[in-house]
């Protein structure tokens, strides 16, 4: 099989990229290993999606469905292969795909990689103790409850107060699982204030800040979880242990961009741990573009959609012969934890995503000769700004800083 554009993954990023490429008159194949398009959106049945893009608040499945409909308007240009896993991508622009119909090869001119993220697993936390059943990552718990209609346990503790952890606290409570608390190692909640209110306060779920899990105990099923306070270096403080009698532990300790398939083909960024990309969505391998959570973890699906559209647009221009040359590195400076994209190609203004390092009341963001003041900054909320091209002229390195004022 042959195509102009191969999109790997049909989540928010992949669907948007495919539509953008089809609008540019190209032939597109989208490969998705799941049985349906939409990616992680399908299991996120809570509201909070689409406010920027659709100017109204939708649930995850509603957002996915709108894009599924848009995709179906381009059946002449876009072929969607679900239940189809891209196993391998080769240097000669040939991909190996597997589906129940068999294994086949596909030759493409350009790839848009949109494989999303995976969850940090329990093993990565190196918590001492037993390994009983009853320990779930938030995404797995969410899938079991929202898609497969299973109850995961009777009494649960949640680790991680990011939006996903808090939303799971509410979901479990509504479904009749008692949530005894949310444990967070930082001294402040990891997610949005609105979720602290509507997911925890509304249901009187305690939030234990500056705390971590130090041991799990249980023979077959989880029986006890030991939680202790931590010092400023996140080291548990002896003597502060509390024991929670729970049969379920839900982990929501972060997402990691899914990059393994492109190992050796493209460079990664050490901070985002995702595919390093230019402002055109182009990776270090010029025919591979990438978008969405495989490049950096985005807060809002609206941003992911926009990034998918952008990658689709530039990938299409690449197919018809345009080349993007100047790539100026963008680097995080003072008070900045990470920035995306990782480099700037001066074909257009720069849409820059920034995560700060610590909560700040007021700070000036500086990018080249561009400055803007932001208030109420927290690491869990990305700052997004459009920096005009003129403000970045002549730089050979773009440092992004946040100076507290």
């Amino acid at each position: 099989m042959k195509t102009d554009v191969l999109v790997i993954g049909a989540g928010a990023a992949g669907m948007a990229a495919a539509i953008a490429a089809a609008k540019n008159g190209l032939k597109v194949i989208v490969a998705e290993r799941d049985e349906v398009t939409g990616g992680i959106l399908n299991q996120c049945i809570h509201n909070g999606f689409g406010l920027h893009y659709f100017k109204e608040e939708l649930t995850g499945p509603e957002y996915a469905e709108r894009f599924r409909e848009r995709l179906s308007e381009y059946t002449d240009a876009i072929q969607v292969l679900t239940d189809c896993h891209v196993l391998k991508l080769n240097r000669d622009k040939k991909a190996l795909l597997v589906s129940p119909r068999g294994v086949f090869e596909l030759e493409t001119k350009v790839v848009i990689y949109a494989a999303g993220a995976r969850e940090r697993p329990f093993g990565s936390l190196m918590i001492p103790g037993d390994r009983p059943s009853g320990i779930f990552t938030a995404g797995v718990a969410q899938r079991l409850m929202n898609i497969d209609n299973r109850k995961i346990g009777n009494r649960a503790l949640i680790v991680g107060s990011g939006d996903i952890g808090m939303i799971m606290a509410r979901r479990l409570t509504l479904e009749g699982t008692e949530v005894v608390g949310v444990v967070e190692r930082l001294p402040y909640p990891g997610g949005l204030l609105r979720n602290v209110i509507q997911c925890l306060k509304d249901f009187d779920i305690p939030l234990y800040l500056s705390s971590t899990v130090v041991e799990v105990r249980g023979k077959e099923r989880l029986e006890e979880v030991v939680v202790a306070n931590v010092d400023e270096h996140f080291k548990p403080i002896p003597g502060t242990e509390k024991i929670f009698k729970v049969d379920t532990l839900v982990l929501s300790v972060g997402l990691i961009p899914q990059v393994e398939m492109l190992d050796g083909l493209v460079s990664l960024d050490a901070r985002t741990r995702g595919i390093a990309c230019s402002s055109t969505g182009q990776s270090s391998c010029e025919w591979i573009f990438a978008a969405g959570n495989c490049t950096a973890i985005f807060d809002l699906v609206d941003y992911v959609t926009r990034e998918g559209e952008r990658a689709g647009e530039y990938a299409s221009r690449y197919v018809v012969g345009e080349r993007f040359t100047r790539n100026v590195p963008i680097v995080p400076g003072e008070n900045v934890m990470l920035t995306f994209p990782n480099s700037y190609s001066d074909v257009d203004d720069l849409t820059l995503y920034v995560r700060c390092r610590k909560p700040m009341e007021k700070a000036v963001l500086k990018v080249g000769s561009f400055e803007r003041v932001f208030e109420d900054l927290i690491p869990s909320e990305m700052i997004v700004v459009r920096v005009p091209k003129q403000k970045l002229m002549g730089l050979d390195r773009i440092e992004v800083t946040l100076a507290e004022v």
Binding site: N42, I45, G48, L51, E57, E62, E65, E175, L192
Partner: protein, 122 residues
């Protein structure tokens, strides 16, 4: 001045307000008019949109996700969940289909947020 975070959308505006005898005398920080309605409700009768799911019969999936079409009083949420657990719908279901009308007399409907095809239909 009192401070309150609006939960109606992910913008999460921090609304500063002053109230005298339950009457709002000044408001700032809301980026849209919904913020004022939220503030008024929050002082009188806090309300929330509730997203959840209900059982589907003969569907390609066991559940269809739903939400209340508008915020319902927070105090009704436990009663709402008890009721929703007993609801079953027949597939097919389409996004936007009303599953329960005027739930618990709140003025809000329960609407489907996903489409579920009937088993065996193309």
């Amino acid at each position: 001045m009192e401070k309150l975070v609006c939960v109606l959308c992910p913008m999460g505006c921090k609304i500063k307000y002053e109230a005298v005898d339950g009457k709002i005398v000044s408001v700032e920080g809301n980026r849209c008019p919904r913020g004022i309605a939220y503030l008024e409700d929050e002082l009188k009768e806090p309300k929330r949109i509730v997203p959840t799911s209900v059982k589907v019969l003969n569907g390609e999936m066991p559940l269809v996700s739903v939400k209340t079409s508008k915020p319902i009083p927070k105090r009704l949420i436990p009663q709402f969940m008890d009721l929703i657990k007993k609801v079953e719908v027949q597939a097919p279901v389409n996004v936007g289909d009303v599953i329960v009308r005027n739930v618990l007399n709140s003025g809000a409907d329960v609407v489907a947020t996903r489409s579920v095809k009937r088993i065996g239909s193309a």
